[in-house]
Symmetry: C2
Subunit: 139 residues, 2 copies
Amino acid sequence: MVIIQNVGQYLLDNGIKPSIQRIKIFDFLMKNHEHPTVDKIFLSLSDEIPTLSKTTVYNTLKLFQSQGIVNIVNIEDHETRYDCDTSFHGHFKCLECKNLYDFELENTELNINKFEGFKITESHYYLKGLCKSCLSNKI
Amino acid sequence: MVIIQNVGQYLLDNGIKPSIQRIKIFDFLMKNHEHPTVDKIFLSLSDEIPTLSKTTVYNTLKLFQSQGIVNIVNIEDHETRYDCDTSFHGHFKCLECKNLYDFELENTELNINKFEGFKITESHYYLKGLCKSCLSNKI
DNA sequence: TATATTTTTGCAATCATTACAGATTTATAA
DNA sequence: TTATAAATCTGTAATGATTGCAAAAATATA
Ligand SMILES: [Mn+2]
Ligand SMILES: [Mn+2]
Ligand SMILES: [Zn+2]
Ligand SMILES: [Zn+2]
């Protein structure tokens, strides 16, 4: 994962004009690696930016996606989560504590040779189950 | 993938009473491997069962899921698709023609050793890009 | 400073899904 | 068979996430 020192510059480098809202939203994603939902982001930033509109959160995340600095994590069909870590990695969700874990994944590990002549632009790998601590609590 | 001769019996074997609606919905999934949406299933069966309710389609698919004979394919966040092939396999979606392709995947191929002490109950592997024929059409 | 452009906001509209209650069908027992 | 109970199905209303849109606010340009 890339470490970003200056969010404003990072946005500029990716063709995004760094408004207050955009900076705070990206900053929130960086500091909250639990892959928050729109609602989580909106509610969390409402203190800091009392005038913030949920539409702005939606618009901003869409902009971030289109510029490739944010990805959707779609591990559950009823909740859309966002991830500013665009490096190749997988996601595990514990069905008990609902926590979402990142995990590393060798790109080559999944290089499917069944797709001769196909062009693969996106890949998502999702696992679900019970995490270590939830499992030990069950004993 | 398991080949099912008798849908009614298959439902019974999986603890589901085989009503007309349930049989036709499962049958539709078997015969239409493009992983249809609720809308597609509902519209397609409306001729055969003019009284069919969309609620029934939702309820039935939920029942099938709970009995483990149908899985959700959540490759796009705005469309929920259903799959009666519960064997382990991955999905590829062509962003041009929108077709959804199954692909085989060795279970062991993806057995992540990073999850010592975790219990994995579900895994989904989604790829997106351009399929062979769409790529060749672009030339 | 005046004007144009971009961004944000708030609310209405849309769309998929769920809740619910009544109708219909199927199972059970007299 | 007939009456009663249980299960299933249906139609509509409610919910909730997302999008559309037009006005307001902020920022850039002349
Ligand atoms: Mn992640
Ligand atoms: Mn499939
Ligand atoms: Zn857990
Ligand atoms: Zn294609």
